[in-house]
């Protein structure tokens, strides 16, 4: 039987294997080791949810704790990347982009173009996103569409442990700045992950499930939600094709379009708020490039246009669930002019 590990362990293993392979790889972030200057254990945390645990002792001098100064240390990772290092900087929650965004979108994202193609910035920013932990409005957002909007950034959304490892390795090896978005509710999910090192290329979608009736494109944690809905719908005789684009920038338009050419129906599932998100982006793509194939209106299943609420009673309503996906699929499957 193939080995199974968690999403958290898969990211940790990818970091360790790349650090082993390439001395230019360093990691940094708040409490990525934890315990700096304190009387107790070194490597006390290994990141707030333990993703980098153990690397501090394995790679002396290459796991840097930082003060709470995101502009400074994310900027430093970017600067170090321009000098040939391969830094992986952790922005603990994606919501904290607010205090360091300039370094990412005006600096890292622009260098290559602004400098006439004469720069590379191989930095990876690891960051945690998503709702579900009752962490409220400033620790739960799905802000990856904002990064996707910026030319020059690559944006990665691993949906499983297998994806997490392969995409992290590719992120580190990639010569462009990468925003690697980890869903906080996926850390404990377990799946088959090869022990050896492997890279998953960017811009290549994974067809998670084949089906001829309706195409479902889903991102990050929503891939699992879409799969659950698809399983349910198969019982009702509706066969869904579930596509995980794996990266939002670059986006594998071909796989999505080919699928819609054959199903004629599209549902996009995106945990982000509904305006200018991945769902609108994919629907626009399909409307423009595959209009002739469409046999029903496109449907988007997203969070509402609100901040993320704290109360479990409200947060559970906020997050797209399999039932909402199934309803959307049924509405396009049964659509009549």
């Amino acid at each position: 039987m193939a080995r199974t590990i968690s999403y958290r362990e898969a990211i940790n293993e990818a970091l360790a294997q790349e650090m082993e392979r390439d001395p230019r790889v360093i990691i940094m972030g708040e409490d990525n080791a934890g315990g700096a200057g304190s009387p107790g254990e070194d490597d006390a945390w290994g990141g707030v949810l333990g993703v980098t645990k153990g690397l501090y002792h394995r790679f002396p001098g290459r796991v840097l704790d930082t003060p709470i100064s995101e502009s400074a240390f994310i900027g430093a990772a970017i600067g170090a990347a321009t000098r040939g290092m391969r830094p992986v900087a952790e922005l603990m929650f994606i919501d904290f982009m607010g205090v360091c965004f300039d370094q990412i979108f005006n600096q890292a994202a622009k260098f290559r173009y602004m400098f006439g193609g004469r720069a590379i910035t191989p930095v990876t920013v690891r960051t945690m996103y998503g709702a579900g932990l009752r962490a409220a409005a400033q620790h739960s957002q799905a802000l990856y569409p904002i990064f996707t909007h910026i030319p020059g950034l690559k944006v990665v959304l691993p949906s499983s442990p297998y994806e997490a490892k392969g995409l992290m390795i590719q992120s580190i090896r990639d010569d462009d700045p990468v925003i690697f978005c980890e869903h906080k509710m996926l850390y404990d999910t377990v799946g088959e992950v090869p022990e050896e090192s492997y890279a998953i290329p960017f811009g290549e979608a994974n067809i998670v499930r084949e089906g001829g009736d309706v195409t479902i494109v889903a991102f990050g944690r929503m891939v699992g939600t879409a799969e659950q809905a698809a399983g349910q719908l198969a019982g009702d005789g509706i066969e869904c094709e579930v596509i995980d684009p794996r990266t939002t920038s670059p986006l594998d338009a071909d796989t999505i379009l080919e699928s819609v050419e054959s199903t004629g129906r599209l549902v996009v599932v995106d945990e982000a708020t509904p305006r200018c998100n991945m769902a609108t982006d994919v629907c626009a793509l399909v409307a423009q490039e595959a209009f002739g194939a469409l046999r029903a209106p496109v449907r988007m299943v997203t969070a509402p246009h609100t901040p993320v609420p704290f109360s479990d009673a409200l947060e559970d309503l906020y997050i797209p669930d399999p039932q909402r996906v199934a309803n959307a699929v049924k509405s396009v499957a049964g659509w009549k002019r």
Binding site: E30, D31, G35, V99
Partner: protein, 322 residues
């Protein structure tokens, strides 16, 4: 040291004791799984919020941090509504939408706990600016941690407050840690207060276990600000009694909490001092203890039985008009 009248002293004790009881109880309830989300407790640090906020009134605004329960209580936010908020109930201070990290009551001059480290100091420049325009002597007070003292937003706010000569007080609560990281490591100079010189404002260091020391330092800074004398940076040195958040194993710490609880505790020291000097009696203080414990019991009972928010609340309050 200036005289403090009996009523103020008793109120201060009630405030500190309420914060302590509230936090100890949230700690217990969290362990039972009753409370969702991230919870950061202020126990041990009560003398700071209390020593500062006993000088404040309706003209004044404070901004807090993720560790905000103590500041909320000290600025007069309703304790029962706070507890309900932490439980995610519709009767909470923010109607269940904010939770522990976002408790606020603008009618009380409490601009919110804050999920973003360093989120508060710039906002306080704004409330201080507004107070200056109002001309009634109001001040803005930003509470923030040692970790937050390294955030660009905090450093920018200190400079702006000085440049605009704002009626603002910056209270750096140095509890020795930002998460697992020691402030002796993360703060490059010896004291956070030393940074005040770089921003052209007075910087003072006080013992955060001593209500009277905080009260005196804050009193000077606040009255200077009220009289147009500009901002001050106060560094309060203290210890948090619980983990960074509930669930933190705290392997990075040594025995400092036990030491602080037994030898430095602000409540014990307050009681010893006021009874030794015949300012208050044990009987008066014991009566407050009983009153506070009953309030916290009632707050938990009411929170537990309060209704959750209505599903329709999900989409409300995003805008005023839309």
């Amino acid at each position: 040291m200036p005289e403090i009248d009996e009523i103020t002293l008793l109120d201060a004790y009630r405030m500190m004791r309420t914060i302590r009881a509230f936090e100890e109880r949230v700690h217990e309830e969290f362990a039972t799984g009753e409370i969702p989300g991230f919870v950061h407790l202020y126990a041990g640090e009560e003398a700071s919020a209390t020593g500062v906020c006993t000088h404040l009134d309706a003209r004044d605004t404070i901004a807090s941090t993720h560790r905000g329960h103590g500041h909320c209580i000290a600025k007069g936010v309703d304790v029962k509504a706070m507890m309900a908020e932490i439980y995610g109930r519709g009767t909470g201070s923010c109607r269940g939408k904010g939770g522990s990290m976002h408790i606020a009551d603008l009618t009380k001059g409490m601009l919110g706990a804050n999920g973003i480290v360093g989120g508060g100091p710039p906002l306080i420049c704004g409330t201080a600016l507004a107070a200056k325009h109002e001309g009634a002597g109001g001040v803005g007070v930003a509470f923030f941690g040692d970790g937050a003292s390294n955030q660009g937003t905090t450093l920018e706010a200190l400079n702006l407050a000085s440049v605009w000569h704002l009626p603002a007080v910056f209270v750096a609560e140095n509890n020795g840690y930002a998460e697992a990281t020691s402030s002796s490591w993360s703060v490059a100079c010896d004291n956070i207060a030393d940074r005040a010189a770089a921003f052209g404002m007075p910087g003072v260091i006080v013992d955060g276990f001593d209500f009277f020391a905080v009260h005196e330092a804050a009193g000077e800074a606040i009255s200077r600000a009220r009289q147009g004398g500009g901002p001050t940076l106060i560094e309060v040195k203290l210890t948090r009694y619980f983990g960074h958040f509930e669930g933190d194993q705290q392997t990075y710490r040594a025995g400092e909490v036990t030491h602080a609880r037994e030898n430095l505790d602000c409540l014990l020291r307050f009681r010893a001092r006021v009874t030794e000097r015949d300012l208050l009696t044990d009987k008066q203080l014991d009566a407050v203890d009983i009153e506070v414990d009953a309030l916290i019991d009632a707050a938990v009972a009411e929170a537990e039985s309060a209704p959750r928010p209505d599903p329709g609340d999900l989409a409300t309050d995003v805008y005023v008009t839309y």
